[in-house]
């Protein structure tokens, strides 16, 4: 979007609505436009969720976690890593781990554990299987530990809107899992591909706070 697309009054109105201006009298158009662009690009930090248990150091850099024959619905998770100003964070480290289809963590090895590095655009992607339920947790989830230089590390968890626990209404029923304090962590699931080889696709953007 360019400055030419707005007149000053219109731009000021947009900035005021975004809360990006407190004093406008002496601002030039480029100043106002820059403030609007900055606010429009800014992102809220991804909500925190507790780390564990069973985080394991040293996971391999492996984006393909699902081995042939692994039971469970195939899942592809992708997203980008940003900071709160909306700048992509290439090189961010994204450690993920989750239980298998039966709800069991690999404590001895590194099955369903990976340490990824965000690409130049901040993008990351991995394929795995939908984690199963297990008794001490209510909902299916994937753990994340994300870090980038100059930014606060984040532990969080990704949940799935298709989880039967939510009865089809995660916005209202997310509190059924007491660990879910923010429904933004529950992500829609798109089923893709041939009906004989369905894959669940989930998008999960990560936003880190600057130190």
């Amino acid at each position: 979007m360019t400055i030419e697309g707005f007149d000053r009054r219109e731009l000021l109105a947009k900035c005021a609505a975004l809360g990006s201006l407190t004093m406008v009298a002496s601002l030039t158009m480029p100043d106002v436009f820059a403030a609007w662009e900055e606010q429009a690009k800014s992102r809220r930090p991804t909500p925190w969720n507790e780390v564990g248990p069973f985080y394991k150091r040293g996971a391999p850099n492996n984006a393909h976690l699902r081995a042939d024959g692994d039971p469970g619905l195939p899942v592809i998770v992708s997203g980008r890593v940003f900071d709160t100003r909306g700048d992509a964070l290439p090189g961010a480290t994204i450690e993920i781990w989750h239980a298998d289809h039966h709800g069991r963590y690999d404590i001895d090895g590194y099955h369903y554990r990976s340490s990824l590095v965000a690409a130049d655009s901040g993008k990351y992607q991995f394929d795995s299987v939908m984690p199963g339920h297990y008794p001490s947790r209510v909902c299916q989830h994937i753990h994340y530990l994300v870090s980038a230089p100059g930014h606060k590390s984040l532990t969080t968890q990704l949940y799935f809107a298709t989880d039967p626990v939510f009865d089809g209404d995660p916005a209202h029923n997310y509190a059924r899992d007491p660990l879910i304090q923010n429904p933004d962590l529950i992500r829609p699931v798109m089923l893709q591909g041939d009906p004989k080889a369905i894959v669940a696709a989930v998008s999960f953007e990560i936003v880190l706070e600057r130190l």
Binding site: R57, I107, P135
Partner: protein, 298 residues
């Protein structure tokens, strides 16, 4: 001095599900299925108070060493401290996040709370926060105070252990020799070592001054979820649980702290809680019908 020489029975109108035993051996507290926390004086089993915790989804709990204070934090981020003997609320705070861990200092003057990226120390008398450290990368999942109160050890979610000055919060030593995050932590009796263990079932003994690993135990039967050093420092009680089936029976192992030889073993089957008491015994609460029996394991 022996606090109680024979098994004691505690009962409640509803089945007891979890038991806390004060290290002075004079107080026991237990949650029941009727959403009440009951507090008894030992050894006469006199019911001191009944605290209603209905509607509280419990995240973290702690009983002070003298049994006078009970702390509960829930997933609504509410923290309550009760006078255990009267059941009256002495402090309530709505937190930004629920704590992942809680522990009293040995003298019960301070309460340490571990959070997702920080920990706090609260002065129990004034309820003021006397220290906040916000440099935990992945959360403080376990806390222990040294017996002299001068240092704090934290088990960190990124598979490390830190030893800090209890007044300033400055990190004095750090150990990153863990593969899996340590879930349990305690100081040796002399404060020179920190012992921690986690999902891989191995205890790591750390020099508290340098952070270096001194030695490791052999692998225990299951993941280490709790460990406590005895009053005289000679033994360790280690609670193990099957990482993938927390409800299954699993060994509670007592080790000689020097030789790491196994001195005793019990099962978590029907066990609802336990503690080392100041007279040197390891007391456990064993389910007995709807109530519990307090028995000495060591």
């Amino acid at each position: 001095m022996i606090l109680f020489a024979c098994a004691l029975a505690l009962s409640a109108p509803s089945p007891i599900t979890t038991v806390f035993i004060a290290s002075n051996g004079k107080i026991a507290a237990g949650f029941s299925r009727d959403h009440k926390l009951r507090v008894w004086a030992l050894p006469d089993n006199r019911l001191l108070s009944t605290i209603d915790v209905a509607g509280r989804q419990i995240a973290t709990t702690a009983l002070s060493n003298d049994g006078r204070k009970f702390v509960l934090a829930d997933y609504n981020n509410d923290l309550t401290i009760w006078d255990a003997s009267t059941g009256s609320v002495v402090w309530h705070e709505h937190l930004e996040h629920y704590p992942l861990s809680a522990a009293f200092s040995r003298d019960d003057r301070f309460l340490g709370l571990g959070f997702g990226s920080s920990f706090r120390i609260i002065d129990i008398a004034s309820h003021k926060t006397v220290l906040t450290a916000t440099d935990s990368q992945a959360g403080v999942v376990g806390i222990a105070f040294s017996r002299d109160g001068a240092r704090i050890a934290t088990a960190e979610g990124n598979a490390s252990v830190r030893v800090r000055d209890a007044k300033s919060g400055a990190v004095l030593a750090e150990n990153r020799d863990f593969l899996l995050e340590p879930l349990a932590i305690d100081f040796s009796a002399d404060g020179r070592q920190v012992i921690a263990g986690g999902g891989d079932g191995v205890l790591v003994f750390i020099d508290a001054a340098t952070g270096k690993t001194i030695r490791r135990s052999s692998k225990l039967p299951n993941a280490v979820f709790d460990l406590k050093v005895s009053q005289d420092g000679r033994e360790l009680a280690v609670l193990t649980l099957d990482a993938n089936n927390l409800g299954a029976p699993s060994p509670i192992v007592v080790l000689d702290a020097t030789s790491l030889q196994e001195m005793a073993r019990a099962s978590t089957d029907e066990m609802l809680g336990g503690a080392w008491t100041v007279d040197g015994h390891l007391v456990a609460a064993k389910r007995a019908g709807d109530g519990v029996q307090l028995v000495r394991l060591r």
